[in-house]
Symmetry: C2
Subunit: 219 residues, 2 copies
């Protein structure tokens, strides 16, 4: 198999916290033991034709493997999960349910969390900021209450650790210093279990090394 | 194969326009020629334990087939596409790229569009409404400009019609009467091509019949 190449921010705006979407792909690759190369891209280069040929929306991450070029972190994680053992159950129904959690993470839980992280940057000086934040926090809490109730005492969302948990943990981590995650001990513990996985730690260290300027990533 | 049962709104808030997420699943089932049953749920019933066992976030659609229960429209459409011909290319790379478009529709293009539809309902009276709408419209236009450029003169996003196009068309339709889609003739024509498909028309008619109160759906 060709060693895949992914793209990541040359300078991640998250200060090395592993909140950018390349973290999901790095983590998935570490879980399945697949080595990879990293091409760092600047914000300017992301919007140029060469990168847009890889990613129509001029974002990261992308994934290149021989003549396959993919974009969208969810699709890349699913591609990795389908080609290696360890991220999807082998039984057909369990596999379909794990994929449902992948979509739930990205289409149901992430949107209000992402919206909040953008609002804290772009709307901070606006007169309505406090009220807007309350509205967003309410949507987020609705999702987290439901998610927490479903998770209950289980270790992972549906049986063993899957690509659904991988995406959900990265999405919940985007709540960062908002303090909202901490209101849900069940979910805080769930995120901590994800962060404790050796593959997570390796992926985190690698993206942090880029932030620290000591990454061995190819350019 | 067991006839699957999906859930849909007993009273869709969209006035029969086919903007609710059951439309995606209906359309996918029609494309592959799979008959299905519909269980209609009220807003109150969606939040009760029986439905939450199917859908942790108390939403529609869900999909039941023998002992498999799924939620998330994207996951359901993918499940259908994997089990029948017609919604995913047969070659491995083309399949992975079609799935990338599915995630792009739901995680990159839909969030600002959905956010706008919610804002026009919930924030209409707020002092920040005009400015908020301008911000949202700007994000939407950024996405549509990129999408329109990538589509270019092609009929579909990547080769033949796929589950990626199916989801993208339903997402773009959510722009409704905003007038934004009409600024992009390439994308308007793309949506019209989707709506012209016989399977789309059958799915649309079926959801409209529910709205009109003449649906033969099971309860």
């Amino acid at each position: 198999m060709t060693t895949p190449t992914i793209t990541a921010f040359e300078r991640s705006p998250d200060g090395g916290k592993g909140l950018a979407r390349d973290m999901r792909v790095r983590w998935a690759l570490e879980e399945v033991g697949q080595p990879y190369e990293v091409r760092l891209v600047s914000f300017a280069a992301m919007k140029e034709a060469e990168h847009r040929a890889r990613h129509p929306f001029g974002q990261i991450p992308t994934y290149e493997e021989a003549d396959l070029v993919l974009f969208e972190s969810g699709a890349i994680v699913l591609h990795i999960a389908e080609r290696h053992d360890g991220l999807l159950p082998r039984d057909t129904n369990g596999r379909a349910r794990a994929i449902a959690w992948m979509f739930a993470a990205l289409n149901t839980v992430e949107p209000p969390i992402f919206e909040r992280s953008i609002a804290t940057i772009l709307e901070k000086g606006e007169p309505w900021y406090e009220q807007r934040l309350r509205t967003l926090d309410k949507s987020i809490r609705t999702r987290l209450t439901d998610l927490s109730r479903r998770l209950g005492d289980a270790e992972w969302l549906d049986g063993t650790f899957s690509a659904g948990d991988l995406l959900m943990v990265t999405v919940l981590r985007r709540l960062g210093s908002s303090g909202i995650l901490e209101e849900y001990p069940t979910l805080s513990a769930y995120v901590a279990r994800g962060e404790a996985r050796p593959a997570y730690k390796r992926a985190f260290a690698d993206q942090f090394a880029v932030f620290e300027g000591s990454g061995k990533a190819q350019t």
